[in-house]
């Protein structure tokens, strides 16, 4: 086993966790995503710069695989817009208490580009700058997507939206 490949194997659990969140908890789809990512990583590993960080590199590959898959599947995946989300949300019985299984299902209903930012930051704990690099988007876009993802997620899990509670502040468009 080369050092490179051993380091990839070490990253598989985290790639699986990320894929799991991205697919809203669909195990089969999540592992398909990981497998495609690993295959691409092998096909492209000649392009990996020695000394570069492996983890962001692998996550950016997964991003590309995910975007491609979403593009092909968009017509089949139910994704809600913010407007729909407001209607779907049911009143919370216990505010601030988000059920674990509920939150994952709700993540799966966010727009894919919101899901990615939300999970990279909240679960994988990449910095905003790292997240921007992985997704090839500007930092400002990371911030606005993150805010909107969290707002929508609260609605989907039946909590009041940020725009409701913080009515004095403008929603980032």
């Amino acid at each position: 086993m080369t050092i490179f490949s051993r380091r990839i194997v070490e990253q598989i659990p985290r790639l699986r966790r990320y894929a799991h969140a991205l697919t809203g908890g669909n195990r089969e789809n999540a592992d398909d995503l990981v497998q495609d990512t690993l295959e691409r990583a092998f096909a492209k590993w000649g392009l990996f710069r020695l000394g570069a960080e492996l983890r962001p590199w692998l996550f950016s590959i997964m991003h590309n695989v995910f975007v491609n898959e979403v593009r092909h599947m968009r017509h089949r995946v139910p994704i809600c817009s913010l407007d729909e989300a407001v209607e779907i949300g049911t009143p919370a019985t216990q505010e601030n208490h988000v059920q674990v299984h509920e939150v994952l299902a709700a993540v799966g209903r966010l727009a894919p580009e919101f899901r990615e930012v939300l999970v990279l930051v909240s679960v994988e704990e990449f910095s905003y700058a790292e997240t921007a690099k992985i997704l090839s988007i500007p930092m400002g876009t990371v911030m606005s997507r993150l805010f909107r993802a969290r707002t929508q997620l609260r609605t989907l899990t039946g909590e009041p939206t940020l725009s409701d509670t913080r009515s004095g502040l403008r929603l980032v468009q």
Binding site: V9, P13, R16, A43, N96, V98, V107, S122, L169
Partner: protein, 267 residues
Amino acid sequence: MTKSQAPISDDELMAFIDGALTPTRQRRIEQLAQHDDELADTIAALLAQRNALRDSVDSVLYEPIPQRLLQAEAPSHRSFQRVAAAMAWVAVGITVGSLTSWQYLSRDDSASTELSSVRHGTDLPRFVHQATVAHAVFAPEVRHPVELGTAELEALNAWLSGRLGRNMQAPDLARLGFSLVGGRLLPAETNKPAAQFMYENRQGQRLTVYLRGMAKPTPETAFRYVGAENVSTFYWVEKNWGYALSGDLSRPQLLEAARSLYDQLST
């Protein structure tokens, strides 16, 4: 209850939630929240959401990795070098490398004829592959190297005995300077799960012992050695049980440990 006098931007609120603010700005928001119930509620909800999201997927980190992911390879039209690289990645052992990679990796039929005789012979290469991959995955683990640690040694022994269907006592390698970290159950073959015990010395070097019932009657072996770049393995089969000891140690050191294990683990 009043609206914030100095409103916080959305970006700043997010950075607060993610702990990305400077201590000064972090404190400023904490102070504002003390006088702004809505802001305090929002922060509490967002933090709860962040934790819930993490909790909802964290367990995936500690699941065994599905075989198909450990067998991932580059697409079939790649160059020979790439094939070799992919095989080296998964096959782990150099000695059994060609055998193992053929069995688990290659979709290339040209390689299959000369090796087909081994295909139905023994699951020893598969066993060694599983053992070395399990070592590669869990030995570097910092937070969760084992499922049950030494604090629950009795439970660990009882659990693994039950699941493996044999008397199972975690072997002792203290004489060689390695103390038990704990162990875990791993999927291997249908109705034949595997056990892994992990050991660590004072320098933080780790050894893993991997064993399972062999899938079909497998000839007994003497000690066999497989050395790769950063991990070496001694393995053997006795009475239809496969045993493997893996670690980044010199061959004589590893052999001494293997002998000690052999004495302790014989059924």
